[in-house]
């Protein structure tokens, strides 16, 4: 007996194919198409082969140098963000109350920054940090510290980092809090009976139990900070000079500012590949660690 074939399944699958094609495959193919051509406007295109890619990856060229420095800035930014937000998020999660009405209050307060649209975050901090009318900038200047994020590269970086920490540490803290909540009381009681110090409890119980959520938090914060665009664009516009021109800002300048579609397309593809590669590494490490555990357990 053969199974009756039912072709109706195609009616469900085809729309998905169509949507994915329109939303993902077609735009990417357009970008791939642009990345191998050059244009001088007027909708005239010339074949350029892998020329843009060669130029992009050659640091001695002007485009390559620009790309490399933006990439380095972005990597540095992501590293700083992870180094601050992950430990800070853990610390916040550890000091949050475990029960009572204060839990709800804390959760709402922590979630607030996450609910603000990104360009509004940029605008808030742009005003907040201004030396003349912004509360923060004014106070810092009155304290005798010369602070001007529009003029000084260090000040600009500090402002963007503080803004990102303000905006996103809650996410790490909330994830860690969820991990902490899943630890049964018996673990803490056993640790007390075993005479474990506060630090030993953190090292031997809390941190291992948070490992999973921490990996997710690190992954999310890495991707987000590596792709950051809106907030620094609103706050500093990539300046002063090129001090806060991250890859995303550089890309938009190239594509929309200079209308270098070919260069911008090549750059987006490389940018995309870098993110994919790093996420792949994360994913492999995570799944390998789990597989390793299962292998030993079996």
């Amino acid at each position: 007996m053969t199974k009756p074939l039912n072709n109706r399944a195609w009616f469900f699958v085809l729309p998905v194919f169509a949507i994915v094609a329109f939303s993902a495959i077609l735009p990417i193919m357009t970008v791939v198409n642009y990345s191998v051509q050059d244009t001088f406007g007027n909708n005239q295109f010339f074949w350029n082969g892998i020329g843009w890619f060669q130029e992009l990856l050659d640091p001695s060229s002007q485009l390559g140098e620009q790309f490399l420095s933006s990439l380095m800035r972005t990597l540095l930014f992501s590293a700083i963000i992870l180094l601050i937000e992950v430990p800070l998020g853990i610390a916040v999660a550890l000091s949050m109350p475990r029960e009572g009405w204060t839990v709800a209050l804390c959760l709402v307060l922590m979630a607030l920054p996450l609910l603000i649209p990104w360009n509004v975050v940029g605008t808030i901090w742009q005003v907040f940090a201004r030396g003349d009318i912004g509360l923060l900038g004014w106070v810092v200047n009155r304290l005798g510290i010369d602070y001007n994020y529009t003029g000084d590269p260090i000040d600009a970086w500090v402002t963007i980092i503080v803004m990102d920490v303000w905006h996103w540490t809650s996410l790490v803290a909330l994830l860690c809090y969820a991990g902490l909540k899943s630890i049964p009381d018996a673990y803490y009681q056993a640790a007390r009976i075993d005479g474990a110090s506060r630090w030993a409890v953190f090292r031997t119980i809390q941190l291992p139990k948070m490992r999973r959520v921490l990996l997710i938090a690190v992954l999310l914060r890495f991707m987000d900070s590596f792709m950051i665009y809106t907030e620094p664009f609103v706050l500093t516009g990539g300046g002063p000079g090129n001090a806060t021109t991250f890859l995303s800002i550089d890309l938009v300048k190239l594509a929309l500012g200079q209308f270098d579609l070919g260069k911008a397309a090549a750059m987006s593809l490389v940018y995309n590949l870098i993110i994919l590669a790093i996420c792949w590494v994360f994913y492999t490490v995570m799944t390998n660690v789990d597989a390793e555990r299962e292998r030993i357990e079996a």
Binding site: P184, A186, Q189, A190, I193, A200, T204
Partner: protein
């Protein structure tokens, strides 16, 4: 090594307890003697875990004191009492090996490394953990993990008592027996007071020398397994222990005769002190009620007979009350009509749930 005394102990989780209802643990006075194997038996929510946590110091009692020998430890923290506790779910430190897990309590107390190593080896061989000492604790089975939790308690040489909070809940049935006999062996080998909380009567009766039965926040009886079986001090003990539990029938008692409905049952003892307001019940275990073919004895209707392996138990009806009775070997019952023979030695009278002693009948002792 210590005797543990509970002195007028009571605990309420509410802030301002007013009446008895507010207390999770009603006033209790009890002495756990050094080296005893105790079981704390009762249904879920009867306060046994609360009592255990008070002894280990995880919960501070609302009233009363806890003494270890003569020392008042009520206000001492858990880590400064010499107490070990094994929890319902095995607690192991995931990142550590079995060896590191066992050494952890000693490491925290700054015991020299060579002494720690020796002690860990000793305990590991006692618990049969030697061959997994260098494996990660997180990858072991539940019963192994529970042994590690136990080992972390035993590894401290000065430990006064080990408390078990339903430690076999997550263990496979065939390993339960094994682990329980390991516990008994350790108890014999180390002379440590063990208090074992459980709601499983088999566990309690096989593990303990003395069983403390709790009900609704209070201790209803303390005794050896035999005492609990033969002379339950409370109807709760009667029907909670034993399977099936004790038959409990409302009755009226006049002198040495009990009336269950219209049925007369003669008693071994005389009960003169019973007052009218009390709720009087008669209790007898199914093991002491024999089912006979219709004839002499109390007439009953047989509903069904269950074969529970080592015995046959009949479910019968007497004046509309259902009872369990044992069916002696070699007896077969035809039809629904049959008779019951009660062993008068094991008929107990309860007033408001509590056992009434009664007086010996005409100088005879039972």
């Amino acid at each position: 090594m210590a005797r543990i005394t509970l002195d007028h102990l009571a605990h309420a989780y509410k802030a301002n307890p007013r009446n008895a209802e507010d207390y999770a643990l009603k006033e209790i006075n009890h002495v756990w003697s050094q080296g005893g194997a105790y079981a704390l038996l009762g249904p879920s929510g009867c306060g046994k875990t609360t009592l255990l946590n008070i002894i280990s110091g995880l919960v501070r009692p609302t009233r009363g004191r806890v003494l270890f020998d003569e020392l008042d430890v009520t206000d001492l923290s858990t880590e400064s009492r010499n107490i070990a506790q094994v929890f319902q779910f095995p607690v192991v430190y995931d990142t550590m090996t079995v060896r590191e897990n066992l050494a952890f309590p000693l490491k925290n107390r700054n015991v020299p490394r060579d002494r720690t190593a020796r002690r860990v080896e000793e305990i590991a061989s006692l618990l049969d953990l030697t061959r997994v000492l260098d494996r990660k604790a997180s990858n072991l089975t539940a019963d192994m993990k529970q042994k590690i939790s136990l080992g972390r308690g035993l590894v401290r040489p000065d430990v006064a008592a080990i408390l078990f909070d339903e430690p076999l809940t997550v263990i496979d049935p065939h390993l339960k027996w094994q682990l329980r006999s390991t516990l008994k062996e350790i108890h014999r080998a180390l002379d440590i007071t063990m208090i074992y909380v459980t709601h499983d009567q088999t566990e309690a009766l096989t593990f303990a020398d003395k069983v403390v039965v709790m009900h609704d926040g209070a201790v209803v009886q303390t005794g050896t397994p035999e005492e609990l079986f033969e002379r339950p001090a409370h109807t709760f003990v009667g029907h909670f222990i034993g399977s099936p539990g004790m038959n409990i029938l409302p009755c009226r008692v006049e002198g040495s005769t009990a009336f269950v409905g219209n049925t007369m049952i003669s008693l071994r003892r005389v009960y003169r002190t019973l007052s009218d307001g009390e709720h009087i019940e008669l209790g007898i275990r199914p093991e002491f009620v024999r089912l006979q073919p219709k004839g002499a004895g109390l007439p009953v209707q047989v509903r069904r007979i269950d074969d529970i392996g080592r015995a046959r138990i009949a479910r019968v009806e007497m004046n509309g009350r259902s009872l369990a009775a044992s069916v002696p070997d070699g007896i077969s019952i035809e039809g629904r009509e049959a008779s019951l023979v009660l062993d008068p030695k094991h008929v107990h009278i309860y007033a408001n749930g509590h056992l009434v002693a009664g007086e010996a009948n005409g100088g005879q002792t039972s």
